[in-house]
C-alpha cells in the first residue's frame, strides 16, 4: 500500500518570523482514499531537542474528524492562520534546542497514523557556544600579590 502524501506550505516564506507575526499555512493530504482517513490534526508547536527529555508545547491546534466537514472530504486543501506568540523563541543551544514547526498528523484506518512537519524559525537568537566554567583553584594564582594578609 502506498504511503499517503502530506504536504505543508507556509504562505509567507519570511525567514525568520517575529513574535506577533501572522503565520499562514496551507496543508493537504493526498494519495489515500477519503474513506481511509479518520481524522486530521494540524498544530503549530514548539518542541525541544537535545540531551534532555523532550518538552512540547502546542500554540495552535485543530482536529478534523470524518463527517464533521460539510461537503468536502478530508483530503481538500486547508489553510490555518495564527498569530505567533512572544515566546519561546527558536533557540539553537548547546545541549538544548527549541524548534518551531507546523505539524500535520493523519489518523488512518486500523490505527495507522502518518505525520509531516514543516519547521520555521521564530525570533533571531544566534547559536549558543559553551563557556568553560572557572576552576575553584584558579584564584589561588593571586597568592603572590596578596599583601593584605
Amino acid at each position: 500500500m502506498m504511503e499517503p502524501l502530506l504536504s505543508i506550505r507556509l504562505r509567507d516564506q519570511r525567514h525568520p518570523y517575529q513574535p506577533g507575526d501572522a503565520l499562514e499555512c496551507a496543508y493537504q493530504i493526498d494519495a489515500v482514499d477519503a474513506a481511509d482517513i479518520q481524522s486530521i490534526e494540524a498544530s503549530v508547536l514548539w518542541h525541544t531537542e537535545g540531551k534532555g527529555d523532550e518538552d512540547l508545547g502546542v500554540h495552535y491546534f485543530e482536529r478534523l474528524e470524518q463527517g464533521e466537514v460539510d461537503g468536502q472530504d478530508l483530503r481538500a486543501l486547508r489553510v490555518l492562520c495564527t498569530v505567533l506568540p512572544n515566546s519561546p523563541l527558536t533557540y539553537p543551544g548547546v545541549t538544548l534546542k527549541i524548534r518551531w514547526c507546523v505539524r500535520v498528523r493523519a489518523f488512518l484506518r486500523r490505527g495507522k497514523e502518518v505525520f509531516f512537519e514543516q519547521p520555521f524559525v521564530l525570533g533571531s537568537i544566534p547559536p549558543a557556544i559553551p563557556v568553560l566554567q572557572p576552576e575553584p583553584e584558579s584564584d589561588s594564582q593571586d597568592d603572590e600579590s596578596d599583601g593584605m594578609m
Binding site: T48, G57, S87, P88, I125, V131, D146
Partner: protein
C-alpha cells in the same frame, strides 16, 4: 525499526523502538490484570469472611487487614494504570498538549501557573521582585546549594565518625587486653583516615556558611530585556581579606533526562560576562564592601525558558576568594524576557 528487545540495553528517555500500539496494549493488559487480581482477591476475602470460610492465615486480625490493604492497592494501581493507558491511546502528543493548555487557560488555574500568559514558558518573576532594595528597586534573593551541602557534610561526618569511633575503641580494647586484632586494626586505618577528611570537610563547610557574611545584590528594574541596561548594587559583609570578588552575568542550559531508572540533570554554561571584579581589599565587620555597577543584557540574548524537562536560566553569580577561605559562590537568579516587539515605524 527494531522489533525485538535487546536483552542488555539501557533505555533513555521516552523514545521507544517497538510498536506504540503493542506497547500500549501490553501496558493496558498489565494494569488490567493487576486490577482484576486485586478486585477478585478482595471479593474472595470479603465473601469468605461473610460466609465464615476464611483460611486460618486470613482470620480477622493483622493478616486479614494486611491482605485487604494489599488488594486495594492493587486495584488502585491497576485501575489508574488502565485509565491512563486508555487516555494515551488514540491521542497524539499535540492533542494532549493542547488539552493541557486549555486547562491552563482557565482563569482560576492561570494565576498558579509558572509562566505569564503573554510570555509562555518564561518563568514568572514574582519571587524575585517581592523584596524591595535599600539603594535600588529590588533586592534579589540568593539561591545556592550551600545548606544542602552543609547538611550532607554534617550527616556524613556524624554517621561515619560514629562508626569509626566504635571501631577504634574496639581496636584499642583489643590492644590493651594484649589480644590485638590485627585484621581489624588494619581495617580501621582507612576508616579513620576518611573520618579525619569528613571532619575537615564538615568544619570547612560550617565556617564557609557562618564565617563569610551575606552577599546582597540589588537591581534597578526587573525582568530584564535584551539590549537594555540596568544598575546594580553589590554588598559583601563579613570580616575578610578578600583576594578577589567578581560578579558575572551567567546563562545556563539545564536539561533533565531519564537514563534507565535514573533521573539526571545536566547544566551547560552558554554565556558568562564579568560585570565587575575587585581585587585585594579588606572587609571589616562594621563596614561592608559596597559597589555600584551597570549591567547590560546582550542584544540577542535568549530569554529565560522553563519547561518540565528543560530550562534556560539567567543569573548573577558572585564569586569570591578570601584569604584562608575556600572559594565561595552565590547565585542570584534573574528573569530575561524576550525583547519588546518594535513598532511599525521602528
Amino acid at each position: 525499526m527494531a522489533r525485538l528487545f535487546r536483552l542488555w540495553e539501557k533505555k533513555r528517555g521516552d523514545r521507544s523502538t517497538g510498536s506504540k500500539f503493542v506497547g500500549g496494549l501490553g501496558e493496558g493488559l498489565f494494569f488490567g490484570v493487576l486490577f482484576l487480581l486485586g478486585s477478585l482477591s478482595l471479593a474472595y476475602l470479603v465473601a469468605a469472611r461473610l460466609l465464615g470460610a476464611m483460611p486460618p492465615l486470613y482470620q480477622p486480625g493483622f493478616g486479614f487487614w494486611l491482605m485487604v490493604l494489599v488488594m486495594i492497592s492493587f486495584m488502585l494501581i491497576g485501575g489508574t494504570g488502565v485509565v491512563y493507558t486508555v487516555l494515551q491511546v488514540g491521542a497524539s502528543a499535540e492533542r494532549r498538549s493542547a488539552m493541557a493548555r486549555r486547562a491552563a487557560d482557565i482563569e482560576l488555574l492561570s494565576d498558579a501557573m509558572p509562566s505569564r500568559r503573554e510570555y509562555p514558558t518564561v518563568p514568572r518573576d514574582t519571587n524575585l521582585t517581592n523584596s524591595p532594595g535599600i539603594r535600588l528597586a529590588y533586592r534579589l534573593p540568593v539561591t545556592h546549594g550551600g545548606p544542602w551541602v552543609l547538611f550532607a557534610a554534617t550527616a556524613f561526618f556524624l554517621v561515619w565518625n560514629g562508626i569509626a569511633t566504635v571501631l577504634v575503641l574496639v581496636v584499642f580494647q583489643s590492644h590493651l587486653s594484649e589480644r590485638p586484632d590485627w585484621f581489624l586494626t588494619v581495617l580501621v586505618l582507612p576508616f579513620a583516615a576518611i573520618g579525619i577528611w569528613a571532619t575537615y570537610y564538615f568544619v570547612q563547610q560550617l565556617l564557609l556558611h557562618t564565617g563569610i557574611g551575606p552577599t546582597t545584590v540589588e537591581i534597578s528594574d526587573h525582568p530584564l530585556r535584551p539590549g537594555e541596561s540596568y544598575q546594580l548594587f553589590v554588598s559583601q559583609a563579613g570580616r575578610l581579606n578578600v583576594k578577589s570578588l567578581e560578579l558575572s552575568l551567567v546563562c545556563e542550559e539545564e536539561t533533565t533526562y531519564r537514563q534507565g531508572t535514573d533521573i539526571r540533570t545536566e547544566r551547560c554554561r552558554v554565556y558568562c560576562e564579568s560585570i565587575f571584579i575587585e581585587r585585594d581589599f579588606q572587609i571589616d565587620p562594621g563596614k561592608a564592601f559596597e559597589c555600584s555597577c551597570d549591567l547590560r543584557v546582550p542584544d540577542h540574548a535568549m530569554h529565560s525558558f522553563q519547561a518540565s524537562q528543560n530550562a534556560v536560566q539567567w543569573m548573577l553569580v558572585a564569586r569570591g576568594h578570601a584569604a584562608s577561605w575556600p572559594v565561595f559562590q552565590r547565585c542570584f537568579p534573574v528573569v530575561v524576557c524576550p525583547a519588546e516587539p518594535r513598532g511599525e515605524d521602528g
